[in-house]
Symmetry: C2
Subunit: 363 residues, 2 copies
């Protein structure tokens, strides 16, 4: 009797599972780049499997993980856990049974039913702006794109958005616009219907850490050294310190939220490397703080985009955003100002932002 | 020649317009309640017409405006501007040519193709919990609902959500959950994929105004009097002062964002009317602030919901939220804390939140 009962319980469970799966969407993922963010993303997709299935009816499976000079390609797409287990058995990525030297993005796009390309390749924006062509190829093959890579977006946002639209797929850029701090989707969803006439953002954790130390009395060199010793800075911190990282994010956020068409040439950029002494002294006064702000304004006839070290007083909504924290304030016509602060500033936070974008594509 | 040129320009313009309208969705609106929020919503729908059409391909037209004991019913739905123009010609709402005494919600739902019911009726939650039945009727007739009315939601959120789902229509509640301060849609979109294990919110403008004054040295009576003289308080401020308004919003936000099923009985509520003296004194210390917090926590085995006056130190992300401003902090597993502050606290802000919800329904 007990056995028979168990038998029916099992059947009942299976039936439930079957019934439930009828609503489930299975999504193929190509993961591009297996550095710190890419690895964090694969791991998080595994950790969050139950939540994705139970709450969002999404089943993520990986068809390819692209790296320089080759890829892991899974002819039958695998779950994150299977891949991680497989990788744990070998000494290096390229010793996996699935390693295919020379396997490239186009092969990956063509060899599996379209899903989401998750771009975790490092940003090489600045003077050497990377091509956006590979994302165009993804859109043409009906893949959605979710990206943490600012480079192609800074070079070609308008072209990418329009190519995605033509192919009725999505381009989601949270990972490239302050990641776990929600910026573009607050602008897109929460401020829908308003006119955003000004944006102010503390968009770079490294410079904010250094400025916070300097407000506390440290000089620039010591603060930078401390940040380097704590592993907060990039190996080459110049894009951060010169204000370019802030400029990239400001540009992408503004063009997305305000439906504008600015280019990097339109942004006046000043970093924190050679700040005038009076600014540093003012930032040490009580009820004042020195912050590297990215600012967009269309209050006057001539709209402008600017990155510059600025003094905030204690009533400013970004006044308390210290250390590696980030924040953004939107100034709107009908909702007044809306400020968002926080969000984890590390590869795990970036991975969480990529995952969020995937969920929102399939709602 | 000039005339012929003008003729072709006109044709060209019309063609463009025709071509454009092919993507346009025309949405019928029933506006329920024509108090301060309802009026602000009608006016804003008029002001925002161009933005709604150009950016969101949405054309809003009103089929009915419901009031107590009757309605303005427009057999052919009208634009906000036409209605406002028509109303400007009469001395009172009920003298309009469109006034139909006794015309009720069911008639309104049945006499027009389904669109969005915008509920701006005043919240009468608390002891006299209003029925949610009328919203069920809207869902059964395939109308979406966008609401600023907390009452039915507090009484029956789970039932309403499930009825909406059954009928594949949407229930959007930004207007009832701090309005222009984005709370539920930050939880829904921006924190998708995270586990929110704690929420702290300053969710009521009136009490925050009074506590801000008290932190500055005023006593409770004087601060309350000042708020009343400035028109910040409701005619009957007790729901605010006793903490119930905060409790309603906390309950709705928690159940929506965390997929929980708490009822009002689960919320332990303490207001600001009889605070112990030591709390008031601590709130006046430098680097400390006294705030009425709504708190949800599932950090311990026993989850809880609580409203209580609390001391924040200056590192808390809600520390600088003063006067009638509001704010909310979400504590998540993968994105760390995310805080949103600001958002206009008036009928216009509420109207903007209702409009935002409509836009997001039709994306």
């Amino acid at each position: 009797m007990a056995n028979r009962h168990a038998f029916w319980m099992l059947r009942f469970t299976s039936w439930n599972r079957f019934h439930y799966n009828a609503r489930m969407k299975t999504v193929n993922i190509i993961l591009m780049g297996y550095g710190r963010v890419g690895q964090a993303f694969l791991r998080m997709a595994g950790e969050k499997r139950a939540l994705l299935e139970d709450r969002h009816d999404l089943h993520l499976q990986f068809s390819t993980i692209l790296e320089l000079r080759g890829a892991l390609h899974f002819p039958r797409p695998l779950s994150p856990d299977s891949i991680l287990k497989d990788l744990s058995l070998v000494q290096s990525f390229r010793m996996s049974q699935y390693w295919r030297p020379g396997f490239d993005l186009v092969s990956a796009l063509d060899k599996s039913a379209p899903g989401v390309l998750v771009d975790c390749t490092p940003s090489k924006a600045g003077n050497a702006m990377p091509e956006s062509g590979y994302l165009h190829q993804a859109f043409e093959r009906k893949w959605h794109v979710v990206t943490a890579n600012k480079g192609p977006l800074v070079a070609d946002l308008r072209g990418l958005v329009s190519k995605a639209k033509q192919n009725t797929v999505a381009l989601k850029i949270s990972g490239a616009t302050a990641a776990a701090l929600p910026t573009v989707d607050v602008g897109f969803y929460s401020l829908a219907g308003t006119r955003v006439y000004r944006i102010e953002g503390i968009l770079n954790g490294t410079t904010n850490y250094i400025l916070t130390r300097m407000s506390g009395g440290a000089d620039y060199r010591d603060a930078l050294k401390e940040a380097q010793e704590k592993g907060i800075t990039e190996p080459d911190p110049s894009l951060d310190l010169e204000g370019w990282d802030t400029a990239f994010k400001l540009l992408l956020i503004t063009n997305t939220v305000c439906d504008t068409d600015f280019t990097l040439d339109d942004v006046k950029v000043e970093g924190i490397m050679n700040m005038p002494g009076h600014l540093i002294r003012e930032g040490r006064e009580p009820h004042q703080a020195l912050k590297l702000l990215g600012i967009f304004s269309r209050e006057q006839e001539q709209p402008y985009l600017q990155v510059k070290p600025s003094i905030l007083d204690s009533a400013h909504p970004l006044f308390g955003v210290n250390d590696t924290n980030k924040g953004i304030t939107f100034f709107t016509d009908t909702m007044s100002t809306v400020t968002v602060t926080g969000g984890k500033s590390d590869p795990r936070g970036a991975a969480a932002a990529l995952l969020k974008d995937i969920i929102n594509i399939y709602r």
